[in-house]
């Protein structure tokens, strides 16, 4: 049986005057790591809490496989989750914490020990959680999520408080989960932090979907821009317009988004346009993320050339939401 997908459908959450999540829809497929990205306060945690039945949506619904989380007979066996505020009783030992939740996910005490070992906490098994460092808590939260060896794994900001070694370790784990065919959803406010481990990205800001695609498709949007100077500025602008390139004036020339220097050079040559400068400008993926998530979103740079073939089976809505 393939692990269930996750579906978020028209999800909305209103906190008094604040619309924390606003008509959000996306899907998370099995066998891949989906990065759930957005700046602090974007609504990621609220969305995950609704997905897990902790918070009631104002509108919309969420599904784990064929039904809402809470309608699974033993949801803790289906979805292993570690939420941002993953919290522990400070007086309990790490092992005691796992043993408390073991009966309801149907695992033995031996499994608790094994999971602690797997997250590198075996040395602290009998230590009270009150004395754990932030990184150790993250690992214990992860151990809790992995207790039932679940087909779906949901982690909220798992890299917070981890040292670089820990971050690398999480990356490896996430890749391993995906390779095992599990459905993995991992949130972060930093694209860079998860860039190396995600297959798909769902980017939100102010509670709204801004972009959902494979990481590859996002990278294509972040394709190099080119700085062009031509003595006949009007002719250059015409050329850009005729090719549907987005341009931004800069000093004597134009920055053309989403077209490479060879493409522009070839087009200019064909139309007999004299160029004085043709320089590649890299658009950083982090810069793209910033553009996608800023308060008033501007369209992503490469609005024109959609990939000829839709990029690998990414999350459902492939186009960004640029309202």
């Amino acid at each position: 049986m393939t692990p269930p997908s996750l579906v978020v459908d028209g999800l909305t959450k209103q906190f008094g005057p604040l619309r924390a999540v606003d008509d959000l829809s996306f899907q998370v497929r099995p066998g891949a790591v989906t990065g759930f990205l957005g700046p602090n306060g974007a609504g990621k945690t609220t969305t995950l809490r609704m997905l897990l039945g902790l918070t009631r949506p104002t509108a919309g619904r969420t599904l784990v496989g064929d039904r809402p989380y809470v309608d699974h007979p033993s949801p803790g066996r289906v979805v292993g989750a570690a939420l941002e505020a993953s919290s522990f009783h400070p007086g309990r030992t790490g092992l005691g914490h796992l043993e408390v939740f073991a009966p309801q996910v149907g695992v033995s005490r031996a499994r608790c020990r094994a999971v602690l070992e797997a997250v590198g906490l075996d040395h602290a098994a009998r230590q009270r959680v009150g004395g754990y460092s932030m990184g150790m808590r993250q690992r214990l939260g992860l151990a809790t999520a992995l207790l039932a060896d679940p087909p779906v794994i949901v982690l909220d900001e798992p890299t917070n408080g981890l040292d670089p070694e820990g971050i690398k370790w999480i990356r490896g784990l996430l890749r391993q989960f995906a390779a095992e065919g599990r459905t993995v959803l991992v949130s972060s406010h930093l694209l860079r932090e998860v860039e190396a481990s995600v297959d798909d990205v769902v980017i939100i800001a102010q509670g709204r979907l801004r972009h959902a695609s494979s990481l590859t498709a996002l990278r294509e949007q972040a394709s190099p821009a080119t700085y062009v100077v031509a003595p006949d500025a009007a002719a250059l602008a015409d050329l850009a317009r005729s090719h549907g390139w987005r341009t931004v004036p800069e000093r004597d020339g134009l920055v053309v988004d989403g077209a490479t220097a060879p493409e522009i050079g070839a087009a200019a040559y064909r139309s007999g346009l004299e160029l004085h400068e043709l320089t590649r400008r890299d658009v950083d993926i982090e810069e793209l993320f910033f553009r996608l998530t800023r308060a008033t979103p501007v369209p992503p740079p490469a609005a024109s050339p959609p990939p000829a073939t839709p990029p690998s089976p990414g999350p459902a809505p492939l186009k960004g939401d640029d309202r």
Partner: protein
């Protein structure tokens, strides 16, 4: 339900606070029982309203409830409020999204610790009260059927208090607020209310329906109604206490546990 019960039970016994409270309870009850027994044993012979004989024994031992009930109440309320204080409620509801089942399991899970607290309480009041009653007074009455019955029901009452505590903690999930209210109610509000109500004929029955009054009636002895005459029948007292447990839990289910978590 079995796994939910086991989980709740493990939550309780993997923390230390309850046995700290049991030790405090034991110490406090030994002291109070000794003081009460002394006041009976050393009372002047013509002391009038001071209980004597078997009634002195039962009244002394009844402090397990009338004085001791604050401890199981706190233990029970902590079982719930600690989930909110340390936000373990999130993980608890992830593995048990049926919030009613979660609550019922939590209420039932304090029964073993409540019974243990009851046994500790009985031993404490006997340790504090029996020697003085036996040496100076009319005897400790440890073989008297009524006294033994009263002590056994004391154990039951303490377990019921722990369950009521869980219900109350659900209604007032803020840990500090819950403890302050429990302390204020048990140490001040209810004793004063019972004394005041008992002075007014028309209202004296009302005092029997206060939780402490009902629990005294379950034991069949009370510091506040020394002759035991005004108390509810035992079965009614038991119903009143169970009513408080269910009432608080139901209110907590409809308020705290209906809200968003997080």
């Amino acid at each position: 339900m079995r796994s939910a019960l086991l989980a709740e039970y493990r939550k309780l016994v993997t923390t230390r606070i309850w046995w700290v409270l049991l030790i405090a309870m034991a110490g406090y009850l030994v002291f109070i029982a000794a003081a009460i027994a002394a006041s009976f044993a050393f009372a002047p012979a013509d002391g009038g309203s001071v209980p004597v004989g078997e009634e002195a024994a039962r009244t002394t031992y009844s402090v397990i409830n009338s004085i001791g009930y604050v401890f199981p109440l706190v233990i029970g309320s902590l079982a719930m409020t600690t989930e909110f204080r340390h936000k373990t409620i999130t993980q608890s509801l992830l593995v048990e999204p049926d919030r009613t089942r979660f609550l019922v399991a939590k209420v039932l899970s304090v029964v073993p610790v409540g019974l243990l607290a009851g046994v500790v309480g009985v031993l404490a009041v006997l340790l504090g009260g029996a020697p003085l009653l036996a040496l100076q007074g009319d005897g400790a009455y440890l073989a008297d059927r009524d006294v033994v019955m009263s002590l056994l029901l004391g154990v039951v009452a303490i377990a019921l208090w722990a369950m009521i505590g869980v219900g109350f903690g659900t209604l007032v999930p803020n840990q500090v607020a819950a403890i302050v209210v429990i302390l204020a109610f048990t140490q001040f509000v209810e004793p004063v209310a019972r004394l005041a109500l008992s002075q007014v004929d028309a209202l004296s029955d009302l005092a029997n329906f206060l939780p402490g009054g009902a629990a005294d009636a379950l034991l069949g002895a009370s510091l506040f109604a020394a002759d035991g005459g005004d108390l509810l029948p035992r079965w009614a007292a038991a119903l009143v206490l169970i009513g408080y447990a269910i009432g608080f839990a139901a209110l907590g289910r409809l308020t705290t546990l209906r809200r968003d978590i997080g």
